[in-house]
């Protein structure tokens, strides 16, 4: 099975500032990939390079086997792209938007377009410029889904949407996967949504790929341990995979990535009164994973006092 997206060693600079560094990723067909990362870590840039709107400084990206810089119109017809911001031509009506978009594609499923439009409570005669944010999102989604693309790339699609619109968005994404070999790559900050629909997640941190695994693997790889002590806890030791630690008067909460039996033994070696692993939600795990490193009391990092 040929991968839908292949990124090899992608490095992208804006000027002399490095935005993406040595990113390698392969996306096979038929999966839903969640693209996670804090703002400014290169997610949108990667998507833009992938679709040929920016040129990579080094490395290459391929979609359906074609180099992103030279995507043929036929390949572009197989990719649905929903950029951030949901841009529409304000003077067109909903119906005109649909007709305009349809004129570019050989295969256009008007039923899907109408269904999504109705689902978001739009009528054909509304002017695109008068739509609310959620309605705009619905219109753009309809235009992106109607050609039934094999690959759907959504850049922060839920930005600014109300919960009902977000739910509709998720439903539409699941609807797309009804047909086999349909791939979705979407970036989002809403971890709960990602948890619901993503097969695998990709986490970017500072322009570097840090995680590429399933949601459950991510959750099970990021674990928090609560160590209770009689008095003041000892300083946090050097642990492999240490993400953050939180120190209070008698307790040390340590979050680790990829904990092994050895690391647990190291923790036990601190002689705590009790040592409890805690289940983290995906959001908590993610925040620890990409957040500030090091030891904290409350939310400010303090140097070690004694």
């Amino acid at each position: 099975m040929n991968p839908v997206i292949e990124i090899k060693g992608l490095t992208k600079y804006y000027g002399t500032k490095e935005i993406v560094r040595d990113l390698s990723l392969t996306v096979p067909p038929g999966m839903i990939y969640g693209f996670l990362g804090r703002n400014g870590t290169g997610k949108t840039t990667t998507i833009r390079v992938l679709l040929g709107f920016e040129e990579p400084t080094r490395g290459e990206t391929r979609v359906f086997g074609e180099d992103s810089r030279r995507l043929s119109p036929a390949t572009r017809a197989r990719i649905g792209y929903l950029p951030e911001g949901h841009h529409v031509y304000g003077w067109m009506t909903v119906a005109e938007c649909g007709r305009f978009q349809a004129s570019f594609f050989k295969s256009w499923n008007q039923e899907i377009f109408d269904a999504v439009i109705t689902h978001f409570r739009l009528t054909k005669s509304m002017k695109a410029g008068h739509l609310s944010r959620g309605q705009c999102a619905g219109l753009c989604l309809a235009m992106t889904l109607a050609p039934e693309p094999e690959l759907l790339v959504l850049d922060d699609p839920a930005l600014g949407l109300d919960p009902v619109a977000r739910r509709s968005l998720l439903q539409s994404m699941l609807y797309v996967t009804r047909r086999p070999e349909r791939t979705i790559l979407f970036s989002s900050h809403l971890l709960s949504d990602v948890e619901r629909v993503a097969d695998r997640i990709v986490v970017m941190d500072g322009g570097v790929l840090r995680a590429d695994c399933t949601v459950d693997q991510f959750r099970s790889s990021v674990r928090q341990y609560i160590l209770k002590f009689r008095g003041l806890p000892p300083p946090t030791p050097e642990l492999p995979g240490l993400l953050e630690s939180f120190r209070t008067d008698d307790q040390l909460a340590i979050t680790l990535a990829n904990p092994t039996a050895d690391t647990e033994a190291l923790l036990a070696a601190l002689n705590p009164v009790s040592l409890e692993p805690v289940e983290m939600s995906l959001e908590d795990a993610f925040v620890s994973y990409v957040g500030e490193r090091g030891e904290k009391t409350f939310f400010i990092r303090e140097p070690d006092k004694k």
Partner: protein
């Protein structure tokens, strides 16, 4: 199907495990009879707005646990109850919930006998409910 599923996305429990728990609860409560077909993967996924693979995984775990069984080409059905939970499991898993119950009781400054009364009452309620639904089902033609 009269079973209402729901999931909490931002909880500590992974989604597939929540689905598993709810299916199991349904079987235990009698809402899902032995031999009854559970909802199709895609149908359940779309109604819960979650990834079908998650539902599929939940079903696979339940099949492995023996709660459900897959019949080729026809779907997934509730299996015969098999008592193959080990004594250890029967000990460990209820204990976690019992700890939570005790925490709550101590917070309210209740005593151990008061806590025990609460446990007895809950047990009785559930038993009655299961009995009721079993009676209902057996009355149907």
């Amino acid at each position: 199907m009269s079973l209402a599923f729901s999931i909490l996305p931002a909880s500590d429990v992974p989604i597939f495990r929540q689905v598993m728990q709810q299916v199991q609860l349904g079987v235990v409560m009698g809402k899902l009879q032995v031999g009854e077909q559970v909802p199709a993967v895609r149908v359940l996924a779309e109604s819960l707005v979650i990834n079908p693979n998650t539902v599929a995984r939940a079903y696979q775990e339940l099949i492995r646990d023996g709660v459900l069984e897959s019949r080729q080409g026809r779907g997934v059905f509730v299996a015969e109850r098999r008592q193959d939970f080990s004594g250890e499991e029967r000990g460990i898993r209820p204990r976690r919930s019992a700890e939570q119950l005790c925490h709550e009781a101590i917070l309210l400054a209740a005593s151990l006998p008061e806590a025990r009364i609460a446990v007895d009452a809950a047990w009785k309620n559930l038993r009655d409910e299961v009995q009721q639904s079993q009676n209902l089902k057996s009355k149907k033609p």
